[in-house]
Amino acid sequence: MSSADAADVFHLDGHDVPFTTGETVLAATSRAGRYIPHLCWHPDFAPHGSCRVCTVRVGARLVPACTLPAATGLVVESDTAELRHLRLRLLQLLFVEGNHFCPSCEKSGDCQLQATAYAVDMTGPHFEEFYPARPVDASHPDILLDLNRCILCSLCVRASREVDGKSVFALGGHGIDTHLLIDSPSGRLVDTDFAPTDRAASICPVGVILPKRRGFAVPIGERRFDQQPISAAEEGDP
């Protein structure tokens, strides 16, 4: 099979989606300008498969589209009532796990979690809130880390390691106590060589890693996902 073989297509909700050898269903879908909701996947990085929001149906199986190798003739269902409901519940799990007070969040309107929640018609948390006690790290002169909003997608971990060559972040703990670690003796961001120009500084899909002194430069109502729903937005960093 040559990688430029135009006959290589799979079927997503009745549409033909072309793919190249080695591509995943989500990568090909995204390249074709179609939308499958996702949070921990980013076109520039290897898939992680942890948020499960991109779960699709292939026959009897439910599988994440981000790690599913595309194959000729594969029949993939994504935009169905079953999967919209599954994604709604997964997003609600992420919301109750952290502390997300959208109206006071600098990322509101630019946030993929919030925008994806709109895309699946989420109106409330459904599950009981955990209200975890999570720290805010304001030690760095230019960057604020508000871990209350972390969804453990590991994009910052991957970006800092693979693009910035710094490995400023890592995941620690286990189970419901899984959390983001900062690589410095003090465990605080100020003692790392993190810089606002790092790729990792702009990758966070939610409002954890934020530039300081840039409060509400774009008014709420005029932000990225206020302009158009996430399903129509360009893939990539906010």
């Binding site: 499960r52 439910l62 790690t67 997964l90 955990f130 419901i176």
Partner: protein, 601 residues
Amino acid sequence: MPATSPISRCDPQAVIIRHGSDPHALVQILRELQAELGWLPREALTRVATALGLTLAEVEGVAGFYRFLHLRPVGRYRVLFSDNITDRMLGSEALLQALCRQLGVVPGAIVGDDPLVSVDRCSCTGLCDQGPALLVNHHQVVTRLDATRVAQMAELIRTRVPVPAWPAEWSLVEDRIERADVLLASPPAQGAALAAAIARGPQGLLVEIERSGLRGRGGAGFGTGRKWALCRKAAGTGRVVVCNADEGEPGTFKDRVLLSRHADAVFEGMTLAAFAIGARTGFVYLRGEYRFLLEQLEAVLQQRRAAGLLGSSICGVAGFDFDIVIHLGAGAYVCGEESSLLESLEGKRGNPRVRPPYPTESGYLGQPTIVNNVETFCAVTAITLRGAAWWAAIGTAQSSGTRIHSVSGDCARPGLYEYPFGTSIRRILEDCGAADTQAVQVGGPSGVCVAVNEFDRSIAFEDVPSAGAFMVFDRQRDMFEVARSFTHFFAHESCGFCTPCRVGTALLVRRMDKLAAGHGSPHDLDALFEIDRLLRGSSHCGLGATAGNPLRETFNRFRPAYERRLRSLHLIPGFDLDAEVSIARQVTGRDDPAAHLEQQG
């Protein structure tokens, strides 16, 4: 850093050098450092990170993943009560409370920088046939706990008697073999199966294993011969054989006995696999709870090397080079899942990998790898010696050979029972002296619950499959509490990688606890089943996918145990105001009626 920095008590460098400064040995290095230091101070993590070329956060992330590695001080005596339901049925909770009372400590709490003792619970230690059991300093076990033992233990701890000087009979681990069939009765003579395999050649051996119909004993039941054939023909250099001795499924202890009694048959099975697929490297992933077996296993390996059955030119065959390293786990059930196991072997957090690629294509350090259960390797040795036809004639058409059951719970004779596949549950219950049985949990919490009207069903892949546990519950037992205990187990063991399991198992626990506290409503049952569906539909690995099994399996059979806990047919909030002020009560030392909010209802 306090003046008495614990790191002054040991030299991390020596441990690191002993492991060739290999970052893939990180879990082993941390485990050994902690054995000397008691816990892992940041200073020690920093030195390890520097020496291995890792970041401090990476090392901290790995250490924080494993339940038996500690980033904060713990007691110099670290006592962990095995918290399987079978331990509880034998009175473990009262004994834990008694020990805590006598030592003046609170379960799970750590006070001060260098406390004398800390007491907590851990997942099943695999000693269900001689419980209640506990683990001290992640090394020594104490079995058959009773009030006398606990009182004496409190005294030994208070007077700071070192654990190795405690009464030897406390740590006696019995190999209770109650019914032996072909595997347990007659372990083959050392080296005999290897000689037979060499006569047949690798391809001949592979054909023999495939023809035997042997399916893996670790749970999934994948054809062993097929797995080996896939690995043999995979592209890529190097081949690795891994023995999965993580035995983390609560209620399972057959692998412990096999390793203790038949280590030669296990190692020989691994060597046969190496011969068949062309591997030079072998690992045994031994669960941390079985640390007490390490020295005797190393001795068997040493003896096999001396006998020319491991090392280079095995049995004098030029080019047949293979050796085995034992890797100790550090308290993580998920590391029994084969791809998590490989991550852990590589010195990382034990998160399951994305598949494909499967381990047979890309496993340990990218090399094609087979992972098989301890019992599978024992069977391989027997089959190689006595032939595929002999094995296939035992059991049923779809499930050849025998299965070893770890029997525990309400029965007169707990221990190991080996039967041909196709044996009925009733027969096993009769043999182990179970009376007035209400249910059997087959295959552990992730397995199935079988009620009285199903006792004529048989253990086989095509009927009631089993990963080896057989926990018996009589009519006195509350099956809701059984399910609640198992639900806690899954939440405690979730690796935290994927959303549904990380958050969903925590929510299951909250709801089950709410029911247990008598605050449940039918709405909570609906919510529980909804989370179960979410877990089954979207979890990354089998842990999350089966975490709702105890709920579903027991609810379908023992509905009244749930229904009598429902307080009303109306919704009752999950938020308990009175519980929320418990911290204030603790701080003020009050527990009088006036310090409680009025109970509703």
